[in-house]
């Protein structure tokens, strides 16, 4: 009797250990709050006419002025959106390349050779865009390797300046993305291929299927699911294509074509110090991204019967 009573009492008592643990976690929570949640309060800047040097209380409340400005006819905004969407859709269009490359790698018979190739193609993923730009700058400069080669092969006489040509900038950036990301992108598909049941292939071979039929009827359908999930997630990120690569490759000659949304926010906010307008664009971008993500998620649930987030 006494022991039973004792244990129920102990249960009701607030456990010291639990409180101790919560207190231990508290500094981290404060940390996360300061660095990740506090900026959310900064969204209020979008509703004020904030000037650097003033405090927010001194700034004039302007309501939705900046948001209206985004959605009113605005040449810059249209140009920037066009650039962003063009480059986004080009990367969506090339997103199938890692799948193809993974299948090609998987068909290599020599495993050591395969590993070798894999480590070569993954390498560019591990360098920053500054380095990538520096390498391009050297190779495509007037006396760089590219123009030398062109002259030796007698393709053109006058040096070709790829980096400052605004006509090719979208294609060029997409090619760079492939250079940097293709090898990295294949890793996940190679893992998916490794997860396919070997019995499927054995059964297919017994049934008389050749190599290509095995690829087409077994490997490809098994990779489709992974591919679609990744594709849908990247649709959610349609507008957030980052800014560091464009910041590096931007120059006065290609600036109008390379300026994507994130770079535009950076320029408006941190170069011309129009904090309020830049914050408003950032908020609008986040809202559109959320809507896109949920739409895509709903779509995925309809198609696959399972949501992706």
């Amino acid at each position: 009797m006494k022991i039973g009573l004792d244990s129920t009492l102990r249960k009701r008592k607030i456990s010291i250990e639990g409180i101790k643990l919560t207190l231990l976690a508290l500094p981290f929570v404060i940390f996360v709050f300061v660095f990740c949640y506090l900026p959310l309060f900064g969204w209020s800047f979008a509703f004020f006419d904030y000037k650097p040097g003033l405090s927010l209380s001194q700034a004039e409340y302007v309501g939705l002025k900046y948001f209206k400005y985004i959605f009113s006819y605005n040449k810059d905004m249209i140009r920037v959106l066009k650039n962003t969407l063009a480059m986004s859709f080009m990367s969506l269009a090339t997103s199938v390349l890692p799948v193809i490359f993974a299948i090609l790698l998987n068909e290599l018979r020599n495993l050591r050779f395969k590993k070798f190739i894999q480590s070569f193609v993954t390498l560019p993923h591990f360098i920053s865009w500054v380095i990538a730009y520096s390498l391009c700058f050297a190779i495509f400069s007037t006396n760089g390797m590219y123009n030398n080669l062109m002259q030796v092969l007698n393709i053109t006489d006058k040096p070709n300046t790829v980096l400052s040509n605004s006509n090719y900038v979208w294609t060029f950036m997409t090619t760079l993305d492939i250079w940097k990301g293709l090898g990295w992108g294949t890793i996940i598909y190679l893992a998916a291929i490794a997860g396919i049941d070997a019995e499927l292939y054995e059964a297919a071979i017994i049934d008389g299927a050749g190599r290509f039929r095995c690829i087409w009827h077994i490997t490809v359908p098994n990779l489709m699911e992974t591919y679609i999930v990744l594709l849908l997630l990247s649709v959610g990120n349609l507008l957030s294509i980052g800014l560091d690569k464009y910041l590096n490759f931007k120059n006065p000659l290609n600036a109008s074509k390379i300026e994507a949304l994130d770079l535009y926010i950076y320029r408006i906010g941190l170069m011309t110090h129009d904090y309020s307008f830049a914050t408003a664009i950032g908020i609008a971008k986040s809202l559109v991204s959320i809507v896109l993500l949920f739409t895509v998620n709903k779509l995925a649930r309809k198609v696959r019967g399972e949501s992706i987030i």
Partner: protein, 296 residues
């Protein structure tokens, strides 16, 4: 499958090998070019480098180290890489361990609060204003603090700890070990594989960062190598000033040094450490991306 190979299959094999080799060359050649250029005589190099070094010399490296900003920037880069990755490892690691403690009050709430940061963010400008408000401009801590508790790493570590046998931890607690002791002596050594993966990821990330430095640092002595290179690339004037300054101040900078050679050599100085650790990294990052893919 082995033995009788059809003609089509053989043709496929050969073209497959050719395709992957060509793409590998496409990926690796720029690095090869960089090394060749940085090891070439700057004057001869202006005639063009394609496949081999022209006039082999280490002078470029020796001269680059003498440039005003480079040693300081290298120190900043190394410090932020080491400090940043260890702080992230300890903070994210210990927090993830705390999140496995069932007895904690509000545990689920705290966990969700942190994980949510993967999906919501204030955006560039509000974050910048907060950092400025906190006095983190021109402050080395801005490299380290914002990434200390990373939701993604917390998920990875927590998942790993949860699949460890619980009996070890329990017996240690019975022996009277506190929570810190448990983590440091038992959980940390056991979760080495995942921690190694995370260290590799954060180190590469820190070494490659430059944008944070660009927006928060106005003083030269806190800029990492990557940012210095960015400035050399974007402001051609500055680089030629540096060369002239070097000559005027009597530091023995080779007159033959060209801006191109400096850029390529600084690029090489930044890239070579990554190339050196790359072979060791490989086994970790495949593991990392797989755990991430399963959870995400």
């Amino acid at each position: 499958m082995i033995g009788k190979k059809s003609f089509g299959s053989k043709l496929f094999d050969i073209s497959n090998i050719l395709i992957v080799i060509m793409f590998s060359i496409f990926c690796v050649y720029p690095f090869y070019y960089m090394l060749c250029y940085s090891l070439s005589d700057p004057v001869l190099a202006t005639k063009g480098i394609t496949l081999w070094v022209r006039g082999f010399t280490f002078n470029n490296y020796i001269n680059v180290i003498k440039l005003k900003e480079i040693p300081q920037a290298a120190l900043v880069s190394v410090t932020r890489t080491i400090l940043g990755s260890s702080v992230t490892l300890f903070c994210s690691g210990f927090f993830a361990y705390l999140m496995t403690q069932q007895k904690m009050y509000f545990r689920k709430f705290i966990y969700r609060f942190v994980i949510l940061t993967m999906y919501v963010g204030g955006g560039l400008i509000p974050t910048y204003l907060v950092m400025r408000y906190l006095g983190l401009r021109n402050n080395f801590l801005v490299y380290i603090l914002p990434g200390a508790v990373s939701a993604y790493y917390v998920i990875l570590i927590k998942t790993f700890i949860e699949q460890l046998p619980q009996s070890l931890e329990e017996s240690a607690k019975i022996e009277g070990a506190g929570i810190l002791m448990c983590w440091f002596r038992i959980i940390m050594p056991l979760s080495k594989p995942i921690l190694a993966t995370i260290v590799v990821f954060t180190m590469v990330g820190q070494w490659n960062s430059w944008f944070d430095a660009m927006i928060y640092m106005t003083r030269n002595n806190l800029k990492p190598l990557q940012l210095i290179l960015y400035e050399y690339l974007q402001e051609a004037q500055r680089l030629s000033d540096r060369i002239r300054e070097g000559i005027e101040s009597g530091v023995k900078v080779d007159v033959s040094l060209t801006p191109d050679a400096i850029r390529m050599t600084v690029t090489a100085v930044i890239t070579i450490p990554i190339l050196l650790v790359y072979p060791f990294m490989q086994r970790y990052f495949v593991k990392g991306i797989m755990i991430g893919a399963v959870k995400g």
